[in-house]
């Protein structure tokens, strides 16, 4: 790789260097074409050199890219470069080639003077170029894809080195390059494997060192994640050995390596198809750009903004009349605006105030007209504002209710996934952006274009020379707006971020004021505040300095245009080649001219950020929940509550199982206690029974029917969950208890609360069952919330009950009350209970002990105590813990 780089350090510079040569050939061909001179040997030579260099370049580009992909330096960027490079190289080659062809064709036909024109206009040529460009892209994608192979192409030197050692490259079943050496430097290390051995090939002072390990000497192979990098470790007995290190960029690739090596070790057949999962696809299949976000396979480049735009427009018919009205208003007001300078300049000065003018002396009339037009424009803008306000409300309402509806439909994993979760937090600002698109952006865009064309037309028709002159500062203005404004925005956004950091600090220390005061740490809080305040101060200063320089500069530059008009126009007026009115009109239009220009420079950014916002919203609207109702789902309105789990395996990420091979048969009405250290997978198991997630393999069935086949509504109505952290909605206590059955009788609510031991504390509240939670500092304690949740579950009356650490965070007396409530609740229901305090599970019929995702024990309390296994140890530890605290367990 380094060699390729040395020869071609800057590929694009190289291409640039080729350009003069290219032009020489073109010019020469042109001249010869005009003169009708047939091709001479020299030209053909240059042309063929050119083609040769072009081809060479494309090959070297590919070489460079491939080698980068191998070392895995940065597949993302490599593929990006490759796509473009291959495209450029191929185009250059193609253009040269086609040019040659065309040239000889024309000269052969004896045609003259047509070459240049036809060359440019030649459709066939153009489409061929496009085709070749596409082919180039495709080729790169295929190449990019081929890196996801369990047999990566070995460099020549390594094949030679293997040969020197007497190893036949043909027998190698597996080869993969890492991007780190064993001592943690960037560099290539190769991991190879045959059916019998693993080889590690690394470069050491220009020599290749090959180490080998027999599969028979390996008992385990596993990847170990470190921080920022990872390694594959093999082991036998007590000894571990590091095979290869790699950066996190290659983690996915090497997780496949581990699978392959494991198969080879067991002597199993390796099937490449099974191993390379779809998730592995990192590049957009259309253009080769790396997905910025692997969990959200959206290619920012290929994102079809036009089709999104069309879809955004599909919202329009709903507001058609408003949009048309807005547009009309805007057009009318811009017509008024355009009329202004003309009336107050040309007409007023040249026709009214000048001797011999058409309307000489009719000042009153013209002022009245000007006044009328201003009044009209005022009316129009009032109308515009009103229509706009109505539409804003409508669009926001529609969008948000659609998105919220879609969000409720999605499965839990969509929310817990970091990437999509992040999308959720954007929903609000995204819908605002879209709304702005309808209200301002879209109509403004049209109006600005109309304005620009209108002004340009008027100015040019009045005096084209002066118009060209006033355009002189335009490029400068555009440059500043495009280059310097972004810097300014970045400072502003930093200012904004620091401001919100300051605000969150204030919120934080106010919310935690009890802790702050209790620890007497007011000083620290003040110091932290001052620090952030300082930061904000600094950036505000910077923002102030910069904006107070740039904005005046821009208006100065714009003013330059006016200066030019005054100078040149004034001179013309004195020479009487221009009327004074025209000059005034010009100055008037100047003021209107730069606004649309500035708008147009932002239009691209604005457009793409708008479409990205739309994209995110549509993604939520379109997302298919992972957990979906089967088309042939059966309705089961009443269940017995028999649960059977068969060979179930599950992981939140497919590569990392959390539960392995779980088997459990639960009789109707039985209570199962789930026991294990935290992180063992207890809650996960419960999530699966409630079908918040779907199992990866195996099955869970209720009353003999796979849960995936039971209609979601029936399933959920038969399963009740009480969690450690109880979520209560904003609303009255009664509403919260009756959440599952909003139309139940008041008697039911009270009875449920009584069973849940909640009635008494509710009655002590001044507002009783109508107490609104969350209002006026109305806050319930953990135990009280817990009992409300139990009451909710009781009213829900599920056949299968799930209790996840329902009594974890309450005091002993409250626990007793909750315990009592739970005992009433579990009667006649199949129950899965997880409890922190094992003593709480004494009513369980059987205990299911999990350890690191595996079921290690199953039986009654007595049986498991006798077995003296994991459960016994857990009990022992807890008893000891109690003793330390001075409590008997």
């Amino acid at each position: 790789m380094s060699r390729v780089k040395e020869v071609f350090p800057y590929p694009f510079l190289g291409l640039l260097a080729m350009l003069p040569l290219f032009f020489i050939v073109v010019i020469k061909f042109g001249i010869m074409g005009y003169a009708g001179i047939p091709l001479d040997a020299g030209t053909i030579l240059i042309a063929s050199i050119l083609i040769g260099v072009g081809v060479d370049y494309s090959i070297h580009f590919l070489g460079r890219v491939i080698s980068e992909m191998k070392t895995g330096c940065n597949i993302h960027e490599a593929s990006l470069i490759a796509t473009r490079a291959a495209g450029y190289a191929i185009i250059i080659n193609a253009v040269t080639l086609i040019f040659l062809n065309n040239y000889s064709r024309y000269t052969r036909m004896g045609e003259k003077k047509k070459i240049n024109k036809d060359f440019c206009a030649d459709d066939e040529t153009f489409s061929l170029c496009v085709l070749l460009f596409k082919v180039g892209k495709k080729a790169m994608v295929i190449l990019g894809g081929s890196t996801l192979s369990i047999k990566e192409d070995l460099p020549k030197q390594i094949i030679e080195a293997l040969g020197d050692k007497g190893i036949d490259p043909q027998v190698i079943e597996f080869s993969m390059a890492s991007d780190l050496t064993l001592n943690g430097e960037f560099g290539e290390t190769w991991l190879l494997a045959t059916k019998e051995k693993i080889y590690i090939v690394r470069e050491e002072s220009d020599n290749f060192v090959i180490e080998e390990v027999l599969f028979t000497d390996i008992e385990r192979i596993r990847p170990e994640n470190m921080i920022g990098s990872a390694m594959i470790v093999i082991g036998k007995g007590e000894d571990d050995r590091i095979l290869v290190c790699y950066t996190s960029a290659l983690a996915r690739k090497f997780s496949i390596a581990v699978k392959v090596l494991e198969k080879l070790r067991k002597g199993e057949e390796v099937n490449e198809e099974d191993l390379l999962d779809k998730d592995f696809e990192r590049n957009c299949p259309k253009c080769g750009t790396l997905y910025p976000n692997l969990n959200r396979k959206v290619c920012p480049k290929c994102l079809d903004r036009r089709s999104i735009f069309r879809r955004v427009l599909s919202f329009v018919p709903r507001y058609r009349s408003q949009i048309i009205l807005i547009l009309l208003c805007m057009l009318a007001s811009s017509a008024m605006k355009l009329l202004g300078p003309f009336l107050s300049g040309r007409i007023l000065f040249d026709e009214v105030l000048t001797e011999g003018g058409k309307y000489e002396g009719q000042v009153g009339k013209i002022v009245l007209i000007i006044f009328g037009s201003q009044l009209l424009s005022l009316l129009i803008s009032i109308a515009y504002g009103r229509i706009n306000a109505v539409m804003t409300a409508h669009v926001i309402f529609d969008l948000k209710s659609q998105v919220f509806g879609a969000m409720q439909r999605l499965s839990l994993s969509f929310f817990t996934n970091k990437e999509t979760g992040w999308m959720m937090t954007r929903v609000n600002s995204d819908s605002n952006q879209l709304q702005r698109f309808f209200n301002n952006g879209f109509p403004y865009f049209i109006v600005n274009i109309v304005n620009l064309i209108g002004i340009a037309f008027i100015l040019f028709s009045m005096d084209w020379f002066l118009t060209l002159l006033i355009l002189l500062p335009a490029p400068l203005v555009i440059y500043i707006v495009r280059k310097i404004y972004p810097r300014l925005w970045s400072i502003f956004s930093r200012q904004f971020r620091r401001n919100s950091a300051l605000n969150s600090l204030i919120n934080d220390s106010l919310a935690g004021v009890r802790v702050v005061k209790a620890f007497g740490k007011e000083d620290i809080e003040v110091a932290r505040f001052e620090k952030r305040n300082d930061d904000l101060f600094d950036i505000s200063m910077e923002a102030g300095h910069m904006s107070s320089t740039i904005f005046p500069l821009v208006s100065f530059l714009m003013g330059l245009g006016a200066l030019i008009i005054w100078a040149v126009g004034g001179w013309q007026v004195i020479n009487e080649t221009m009327t004074f009115g025209t000059l005034i009109t010009f100055v008037g239009y100047m003021g209107l001219f730069y606004g649309p220009i500035e708008f147009m420079t932002h239009i691209v950014d604005w457009w793409s950020s708008c479409m990205n916002a739309a994209q995110r919203i549509f993604e939520i609207l379109d997302s298919e929940p992972d957990v979906i109702e089967a088309p042939d789902a059966v309705s089961m309105s009443s269940l017995n509550g028999e649960v059977e789990i068969k060979d179930m395996t599950f992981g939140y990420e497919k590569t990392k199982p959390v539960l392995y091979d779980i088997n459990l048969h639960v009789k109707p009405g039985e209570m199962i206690g789930l026991v294990g250290h935290s992180g063992a997978g207890k809650s996960t198991m419960i999530n699966l029974i409630a079908r918040l997630y779907d199992v990866d393999s195996g099955s869970i069935s209720i009353d003999g029917v796979d849960v995936r086949k039971i209609s979601m509504k029936d399933l959920r109505s038969q399963i009740g969950i009480v969690l450690q952290e109880t979520y209560l909605f904003n609303g009255s206590i009664a509403e919260n208890i009756a959440y599952a059955r909003p139309d139940c009788k008041r008697d039911d609510i009270i009875r449920a609360a009584k069973v849940a031991n909640a009635h008494d504390f509710i009655m002590k509240l001044p507002d009783g069952y109508d107490t609104v939670i969350g209002r006026r500092g109305m806050n319930l304690s953990g135990g009280e919330r817990q009992r409300l949740a139990i009451a909710r579950a009781i009213l829900h009356d599920p056949k299968i009950l799930i209790l996840d650490e329902a009594t974890a965070s309450v005091d002993t007396e409250t626990e007793r009350q909750i315990q009592e409530a739970l005992e009433r609740l579990v009667k006649g229901r199949t129950t899965f209970a997880i409890a922190h305090r094992l003593s709480t599970l004494r009513n369980a019929d059987r205990l299911f002990v999990l350890e690191k995702g595996k079921n290690v024990e199953l039986g009654t309390h007595e049986e498991l105590l006798k077995a003296k296994g994991t459960y016994f140890n857990l009990i022992k530890i807890q008893r000891e813990g109690m003793k330390i605290k001075g409590i008997e367990g």
């Binding site: 993302h76 001592n183 007590e238 950066t247 620290i524």
Partner: protein, 191 residues
């Protein structure tokens, strides 16, 4: 989000930490924090490339090192753990060890906390909300892709920054003041 607070409170907390050591001493009979004393321990690298530990007369064929304060005290308070994850003990300060052991431990820490230091930023290109970086690190030339702006460049303190790329690789800028002007400009555009 911000990992480090300002220097001032950092010191404050450190001082408190020392204070607390004295305070918590009385709890030693309930929880024992095992400190690994250099005299009684010997670390060595096995032929397989992992670190083994001989503690008095017990041998651990494979140990892992975890920094307790990776940002603020990288070479102090290092938890030494068995392959299974059980803590064997804590090293208070690497400097207490002789050169050989220190060398091995530092090497291992550097491998585990693989964080190349950025010496110079050649270019940062932003496109579609993702930025493509090209940098020189103390371990060589590197290119990487960072998602978003602001979220992936994490200030540790006034002058130190941690950059996390899309794949979870980490890069460090130990002192922003030492960067050349161009690099500084690129970095400032991203924070």
């Amino acid at each position: 989000m911000e990992i480090g607070e300002d220097k001032k409170t950092q010191i404050d907390i450190d001082e408190q930490g020392e204070l607390e050591e004295a305070v918590t001493e009385g709890l030693a009979e309930y929880v024992d924090v095992v400190y690994l004393e250099p005299a009684k321990t010997s670390f060595y690298r096995t032929p397989g490339g992992v670190i083994a530990l001989k503690l008095e007369d017990k041998t651990y064929p494979r140990v892992n090192l975890h920094r307790a304060f990776p940002f603020s005290l990288g070479d102090k308070y290092i938890s030494v753990r068995e392959g299974s994850g059980q803590e064997i003990g804590i090293i208070t300060d690497l400097d207490d060890f002789d050169e050989k052991a220190r060398g091995i431990l530092k090497e291992e820490l550097e491998r585990r906390y693989f964080t190349p230091e950025i010496l110079c930023i050649n270019s940062v290109k932003s496109e579609f909300g993702y930025s493509y970086w090209e940098v020189e690190t103390d371990r060589g030339h590197r290119r990487f892709t960072v998602k978003g702006r602001g979220d992936s460049v994490i200030p540790i303190d006034e002058v130190r920054y941690l950059i996390m790329d899309m794949d979870g690789n980490r890069f460090e800028i130990s002192d922003i003041r030492k960067l050349d002007r161009k690099s500084k400009k690129y970095l400032e555009g991203m924070i």
